[in-house]
Symmetry: C2
Subunit: 431 residues, 2 copies
């Protein structure tokens, strides 16, 4: 690239998959990226743009002239064009829309009219259908006569005269069955439809739970408007997981290619919440200043109790947040899970109480100090287990994403309870 060796570069990039080229663009820095895109204009096609991280997509699109951009997207399926357009505005969006064929433009604009992250945005509008009364032979002849079949399809969807989907037949079954067999006798048990306004995470959950390959999408009148395939659901599932992991760690939607300022901004809120939490905990400690001045060993040992509680709480809440996400934690097993967490907290609390009691005794030669830290440890680990379940479940009931907010609440509880139990017991027993 340095040497502007265009022919050589093309030979290197040509055989790569669009996803790999996109990954490479994400990994090089801004200057190299601009040089490469400007240099290799012709090669940046719609597939590469689709694969690019959303944060970078706008930047790369900005390097392209409107006509180049239009050329690049012309080869894409409508659902991929929708995905691209979602993040664009102004002249670039216009350029893409103008470049599309009339039918595609209408389809894309229709898709953009559905709510963000809904099934309507995810689906492709190209469907393969057959009247439900047809037999295998009719369906095969009909398919073979068409010349604009979608790139990828796995089922023939049966529709009634009102265009309502009533079942589907896999292409494998269609190929394997005698010509006279009725299509409706070959339909799959797994058949289910998705409403166009349904959130995309619900769709991904259904694909995962029921092992679907494709699902017809219907509008409010139950009429077929499109189809969602497993590869789209897989992307949603993957992104949802990614979001959950990042949210649990208090990182907003970020990616490695974000700039310093964006990253700082994304991480700031969580750190700020944590600061409030930490100051709350400090206020508890401040109540015991006189005590600590008398026995500095307390200051040395107190972070241990809080830290163990914080960790046990994080363990319990992570399990709870995941169980909520996979719908494994419901009202029917809630109390059983609560009881289990309390017992787990008690069991681990007792083990660590013995360990810390001994540490406290041998380190500071004070048996009572050992008893105090041991008791505080048991209390805090039980509270951590309970808070780890109650907090996410309550947030979920209130409609707040438990992955996003649970951590802060649970840590507040374990810090405050940890310091209070330890220093409070110390004030009571030791003085």
């Amino acid at each position: 690239l340095e040497a502007q060796d265009f022919v050589h570069l093309e030979a290197l990039l040509e055989p790569l998959h669009a996803a790999d080229i996109a990954d490479m663009l994400e990994q090089i820095d801004y200057k190299d990226r601009r040089a490469l895109v400007v240099f290799w204009r012709g090669g940046i096609d719609g597939d590469i743009l689709s694969e690019l991280d959303e944060g970078l997509r706008e930047e790369v699109i900005g390097f392209l002239e409107p006509e180049e951009l239009a050329g690049a997207v012309r080869g894409l399926e409508t659902d991929d064009v929708v995905d691209l357009l979602e993040d664009l505005e102004g002249p670039q969006k216009e350029a893409i829309l103008v470049a599309l064929e009339d039918a595609d433009r209408v389809a894309v604009q229709q898709a953009l009219s559905y709510p963000e992250e809904s099934a309507g945005r995810l689906m492709q509008r190209e469907v393969v259908i057959a009247p439900e009364h047809w037999n295998v032979g009719q369906a095969i002849d009909h398919l073979r006569a068409q010349n604009d079949l979608p790139e990828e399809f796995y089922h023939v969807i049966l529709v009634d005269p009102r265009f309502k989907p009533t079942g589907y037949v896999t292409l494998g079954k269609l190929l394997g069955a005698p010509r006279a067999v009725k299509l409706r006798d070959l339909t799959e048990e797994s058949f289910m439809t998705v409403r166009v306004t349904q959130p995309e995470e619900d769709v991904a959950y259904a694909f995962n739970q029921y092992h679907l390959i494709s699902a017809p999408v219907v509008d409010e009148n139950d009429r077929l408007v499109g189809v969602i395939t497993i590869d789209d659901a897989m992307v949603v599932l993957d992104e949802g997981h990614e979001e959950d992991i990042l949210r649990l760690a208090g990182v907003g939607e970020t990616s490695l290619s974000d700039k310093v300022f964006e990253t700082t901004k994304a991480r700031f809120p969580w750190l700020f919440v944590n600061l409030i939490t930490a100051i709350l905990a400090s206020l508890v400690i401040a109540q015991f200043e006189a005590l600590i001045a008398q026995l500095v060993a307390l200051a040395v040992l107190m972070p241990i109790v809080a830290s163990m509680g914080g960790n046990a709480g994080t363990q319990a809440l992570t399990v709870a947040v995941r169980a909520l996400a996979t719908k494994d934690l419901t009202s029917s097993n809630f109390w059983r899970v609560i009881r289990r967490e309390a017992l787990v907290g008690l069991a681990n609390g007792l083990v660590f109480a013995v360990v810390m009691g001994l540490v406290g005794y041998f380190w500071f030669g004070n048996a009572l100090l050992g008893v105090v830290i041991a008791s505080a440890m048991v209390i805090n680990l039980v509270v951590a287990g309970l808070a780890g379940i109650f907090v996410p479940v309550s947030l979920d009931k209130m409609g707040v994403d438990p992955a996003l907010a649970s951590g802060a609440f649970v840590t507040t509880v374990t810090d405050v309870v940890g310091f209070f139990a330890f220093l409070g017991l110390a004030a009571w027993v030791l003085i």
Copy 2:
């Protein structure tokens, strides 16, 4: 169930999907579960057993007689049988193997001979093939003449005379093309093969990255031995994510249906590591006992610095662990990411330094104390950002799963640095 109303129960359960019945079995308690399974023996089929959480599967299988078990698995595809057998031993395993048809038994035993969590365990052995020189008409006639096509297949795999896969054709293309067209002119660009010994996560990554629907599996001689489909890859991807989330929180492989003892055991190691970390941090504090006795405000404020560092470190390390898992963090952008993390730490550090400096000053009326906590905050947030990247990348290089072990190391660094910077600066400036 209480009333042992068998007919009513059957009417309730019959229409449910196997996955939903399995979820329900997971949510009721042991007693109800045993009663239900014993009562509804005939209804527990192979699909329900496949869907059950691994922890419960053994329990539920234990309620069934060997013959019932054998009947249940007879209807499953070989890859699902393999999945069931992996966790079983002794008479139950024997009963299932004996129940299988000879050809299936050989297939299952062959699959079990591949390493755990490899492509060989994941694949199904039923493949649909055609010689590469055939045309569309020959392939269609051949498929229509067969009567044991697999339940689900999406491609016809082309093989050369040595049974080496050389490409594949989607069923949609096959149905849409004229009979005289050569199969090899219809093959997909996305074609790639998987080696039978490849780890299943690598396979799932490839499906996700290259939007594969199915991939032929080959042995060490490049001969076709099976095929992996996207629904299997989706399950692996889903489980891998789940594991990553739980590992990041220091929870081993667990599920809601684990017993108290198992859960306690699974969470203990991480808490133990955290205890060592916390004691290390306490040893740092212990070096400054005399100082704290003089100025108890230090004991009140010191957890804030450590806690902020811990959080910032967790944010950075989570982003790094994810980027490593998705292969977005490589040697080509490592130093750029490091620089960014240091700058983000510096930026957030400066903001919080100002806030905490003011808090320290107004709370304790001590301007120098404000300067000390502000400086310690900046130091610890920069160190947190650096440790958050260096630790997971180093663990990854050493072949240790960064999701599992990074948290403990990063927290140790931020605790030790946090306390040392704060108390050390205080000793230097204030006394």
